[in-house]
């Protein structure tokens, strides 16, 4: 009888706290969004399930000694998982369109304004007494506007580990919402005639240029902003493996088995941070709102920069490609292409938008480095 009581006392129903129940519902919602609505399923399925596991009452999977806790400590606390993912993303990235038209890097720069505006918003809310974010918190929240999941997780793990859960969730959710968030902003800021601008075909880029580019980026990072070196170093390493043509078996494994394995464990590790006390509070609401704002501002500043460049260079740049500067590869570039086709059914912008798109990845990694330098230094 005593033993029956023990089983009952160790059961989930007996131990269930309201917060855990709510967080399990949050996990199920994430799974629903991932599976039925195709919100970045590769990350949100593991994150959502990790959230479910972390909130099983009495199982302690996210407590010291638990499986999710160990995954977090080994892979996220050390920063290794986001770095490996970034290596994989580098091995999947084609810098060809950017090399054919390097000035699209300016669009990748402009779109990072979303990051810093959001940072300002976060400290502003704190100054107003509505929230309680430190500067480090605000920096980590701002990076959501970079539309780059691994960058967000890396920065959050360094600057604001307590906010890692909501930041990762916001980052991936909004990346999935790019096709909904961006079009109205893009339409509002451009005229019909601007949207109809056709761009000249991109020149051919040689193999040697593609091999030299990641080394160029690495050396520039090494000379100017060592704090961005881990992220961009691994990114450039992956890209060099892809482009150099002599280590295809390594590049192939990085793009498949390795990134898949690490994605699963990264997701589970992030899920371990979806505990009630860290997720169910006003800060999370603030993060979700600020993240949305960050995306909007980033999109707008990218488009405005493209308009400006179009005027200064005497035409030939369709402002719709500016929004792709937020990264969210390749979805943002597809959105640019879609709106271009709406304006003119012969206007294919996809390749032109891939330049700012990958520039945005570099841009937000640079922004991440400056945040870590400024706040952590």
């Amino acid at each position: 009888m005593e033993k029956l009581l023990q089983i009952w006392h160790s059961s989930g129903i007996y131990q269930l706290e309201t917060g855990q129940a709510v967080m399990m519902v949050v996990g199920l919602i994430l799974l629903y969004l991932a599976i039925r609505k195709n919100f970045e399923p590769l990350l949100l399925v593991p994150i959502g399930f990790g959230g479910l596991l972390a909130n099983i009452p009495g199982a302690g999977l996210a407590d010291p000694g638990g499986a999710l806790y160990m995954i977090y400590q080994v892979g996220i606390e050390t920063g290794m998982f986001p770095l490996i993912i970034f290596m994989g993303v580098g091995a999947m990235t084609d810098f060809g369109p950017l090399l054919a038209n390097p000035k699209t890097l300016f669009l990748g720069a402009a779109a990072q304004f979303g990051i810093f505006a959001t940072l300002l918003g976060a400290v502003g809310l704190t100054s107003m007494g509505l929230m309680d974010f430190s500067l480090a918190d605000a920096a980590a929240i701002g990076i959501i506007g970079g539309a780059d999941g691994p960058t967000s997780i890396y920065v959050a793990s360094v600057l604001a580990p307590d906010l890692l859960g909501p930041i990762a969730v916001a980052s991936y959710s909004y990346m999935a919402l790019v096709p909904l968030i961006q079009p109205p902003i893009m339409r509002a800021l451009t005229s019909e005639s601007e949207r109809q601008i056709k761009m000249v075909q991109l020149r051919h880029v040689s193999k040697t240029e593609k091999i030299a580019f990641p080394l160029l980026v690495l050396i520039l990072v090494a000379m100017l902003l060592p704090d961005a070196a881990p992220l961009l170093g691994m990114f450039c390493f992956g890209n060099l493996m892809k482009e150099c043509g002599v280590v295809d078996r390594l590049s192939d494994t990085v793009q498949n088995a390795l990134i898949n394995i690490v994605t699963i464990f990264l997701g589970l590790g992030v899920g371990s941070k979806l505990s009630a006390e860290k997720f169910l509070n006003a800060e999370t609401l603030g993060i979700l709102v600020l993240g949305m704002v960050a995306f909007g501002i980033g999109t707008a500043s990218g488009v405005l920069m493209a308009k400006l460049m179009n005027r200064l260079t005497g035409g030939g740049i369709n402002p719709l490609i500016g929004s792709a500067g937020v990264s969210a590869v390749p979805m943002a570039a597809r959105v640019s292409n879609k709106l271009g086709l709406e304006a003119n059914s012969q206007n294919f912008l996809l390749m032109h938008a891939m330049g700012p798109n990958v520039a945005g990845v570099v841009g937000s990694a640079v922004a991440a480095g400056i945040m870590i330098n400024f706040v952590g230094g």
């Binding site: 300016f106 502003g124 040697t208």
Partner: protein
Amino acid sequence: MQESDLMLDGLNLMMYGMGFVFTFLTLLVFATRAMSMVVTKWFPTPEPVTAKPVPLAPGFTPAQLAANDPQLIAVLTAAVHRHRQEQGK
């Protein structure tokens, strides 16, 4: 720290941050152009890298080498493409 200080820090970080991002990417634009010019001028038609026989690591079998054959991959890709078009009809 006072709240106005936090706000000030935020503004500072925004200013320096955007400044740095633009500086960095501007430098990258110029460096990239310079690099492309150098490559185009002095290494105009580089021997295709993949044409050289890829050396095997110790013990790598021919089967693994096959996985590196770009021609073979091209053929397979074409086959997949054809299949897709047939499916698309």
